[in-house]
Amino acid sequence: MHRYLFSKLAQSLLLLFGVLFLVFMMVRVTGDPAALMMPRESSPEQIEAFREEMGFNDPLMVQFGRFIVEAVKGDFGNSLHFKTPAMPMVVERLGATVELAVAGLLMAMIFGIPIGLIGGFTPGGVTDNIGRFIALMGQSIPNFWLGLMMILYFGVELGWFPTFGRDTWHSVVMPAFVLGLPVLGQIVRLTRSAVLEIRGEDFIRTAHSKGLEPKTIYTKHVLRNVAIPLVSVIGVQFGYMLGGSIYIEAIFSWPGMGGLLEQSIGWRDFPLVQAIAVFTSVIVLALNIVTDMAYSIIDPRIRYGR
């Protein structure tokens, strides 16, 4: 168990290094970083001064060493737009993004798991067909577009929900729904097929034949086994939501990291963009470790197998 955790940690640290390398190289190797970050109308002298100030004239290895050292300290330089350190600004926005992602995930789980369970136990039934339709739609509707349409109808036409910002609990409803819809579809699909698969397993038949109550079989044998793939998919989907919130936050002017990312790309504020990319990766990597832990708690085979 400890060895397992340790190797996961080591892998994650390695990947984090990879992320830092990628983020560093992308900005520098694909062109002139000074020209990339400066406004298009800057004069050559301005760009040269900026290049000197940012240390872009130093050898690449020196720059990378400096970048890593600063990054470990959590320093990604100053935001070019705000002229203040980038990292604290990103951390400040974290709360709003996590709130949105958690709300979306809860919505997806509260509706998705029961629908998937019912669908798996009664394939071909009404709930199953509704569930499969929802799953297909969640997969096919571009959620950023659905967000626009919902603003138009529920926000402007009916006036039920605010169309932007983060004030009351009302404001979280639409963005969370839109962000969670593809995840809802995934959860329905996965739960359904997991139930179908497990119901056909030998140990379920054994449980039936030794006279266990169906209720006991469902809660003890089936649900526990459905939980295993579910936990891993929920972990992955939460990471996806942190990335996918870029679009949703931009549409609903949600004051989270995604909205900040959209703006900072518009401003060509690359120190800020880098800070967001690295910080989100750190969260997702940490989340992966937590998921793996949860996984091994539910499934003893993983705990003892290694």
């Binding site: 994650s12 990879g18 996806y240 942190l242 870029i246 679009y247 549409i251």
Partner: protein, 310 residues
């Protein structure tokens, strides 16, 4: 094969080499008919391809011509609409119907070439890992799994922002970032096939590796990979629109895409909703079709899946 007549008439695999061409077509047709949603998916996909290929013949409006006198016209069925512009016009008087049609070209191109690049790269990496096994396999696969655990969309947006907006960049970004998924599936299949009885018997019968690779492994790989390619293509079309929406895909004055139409229409959402509605509907229509098609392909090409469905 003489003993073909003695075996039951049920057709087990599409890629069974002993079937004649006619039998295969009949098999495909039967499955298409049994699963209606697959038919719908196929038709939808063909409509999109048709629209993309024959766009200049379907409409005589240019997708790029501006006409400020007829700007912000509503769709034809609304008041003040005109059948010259069935879906209305945008803020600069460009015809939305023709932009949606021409936009299908970009979407399909991104999906097709993106999947081709990702599929080739991924197959290569996955096949090497699966065939080599041992430490090389472990190293490659832990790299692949770790890349897959990163916030994908965020990095796509980041890379697109650095590289700048062009069609080629978008295709390259998707082609490279999507390769790990193909690598993982390929490797899993290669492992499974390598352990199978028929490969073992071919090896013991003295078959050389090109024959094993092309006659035994590749045909069995194709099914899962084609299914994956359909889903990934639909995903790429989706994400290209997302990039366009953030202003990171093909610029709107160069070529119309569904994404950049959405981005342009977003500003006029409340007063002229049709500017953003139609490109969104086009994306939804396309990815609905491709998802249905993918589900169906998975059932047809993978007999194991078919059995578990019953």
């Amino acid at each position: 094969m003489a003993d073909n007549t003695t075996t039951p008439k049920t057709v087990d695999s599409l890629l069974d080499t002993e079937k004649t061409f006619k039998e295969r077509v009949a098999y495909f047709g039967r499955f298409l008919w049994r699963d209606r949603s697959g038919v719908i998916g196929l038709i939808v996909f063909l409509i999109v391809v048709f629209a993309a290929v024959f766009a200049p013949m379907i409409t005589d409006q240019s997708p790029l011509d501006q006409d400020l006198r007829s700007s912000k016209m509503p769709p034809a069925w609304q008041e003040e609409g005109d059948w010259a512009h069935p879906f209305g016009t945008d803020s600069l008087g460009k015809d939305i119907f023709s932009r949606v049609l021409y936009g299908a070209r970009v979407s399909l191109m991104v999906g097709l070439f993106g999947v081709l690049i990702a599929g080739t790269l991924g197959m290569l990496i996955g096949a090497i890992a699966g065939y080599a096994g041992g430490r090389l396999d472990a190293a490659i696969m832990s790299g692949v799994n770790l890349i897959l655990s990163l916030p994908y969309l965020l990095f796509v947006v980041f890379i697109a922002a650095v590289l700048g907006r062009s069609l080629l960049n978008v295709i390259l970004i998707f082609g490279i970032t999507d390769a790990p998924i193909f690598a993982r599936v390929t490797r899993g299949e290669v492992l499974r096939i390598r352990e199978s009885g028929y490969v073992e018997s071919a090896v013991s019968a003295g078959a050389r590796w090109p024959r094993i690779l092309f006659d035994h492994i590749l045909p069995n790989l194709l099914g899962p990979l084609i299914t994956l390619a359909t889903f990934e293509m639909s995903r790429m079309i989706f994400y290209e629109a997302g990039l366009g929406f953030l202003g990171l895909s093909v610029p709107p004055n160069e070529y119309p895409t569904w994404g950049n139409m959405l981005a342009a229409g977003r500003k006029y959402m409340t007063s002229y909703p049709w500017m953003a509605s139609f490109p969104g509907l086009a994306i939804m229509f396309t990815s609905l079709g491709m998802n249905l098609l993918g589900d169906w392909l998975r059932d047809v090409l993978d007999p194991r899946m078919r059995r578990s469905r019953k």
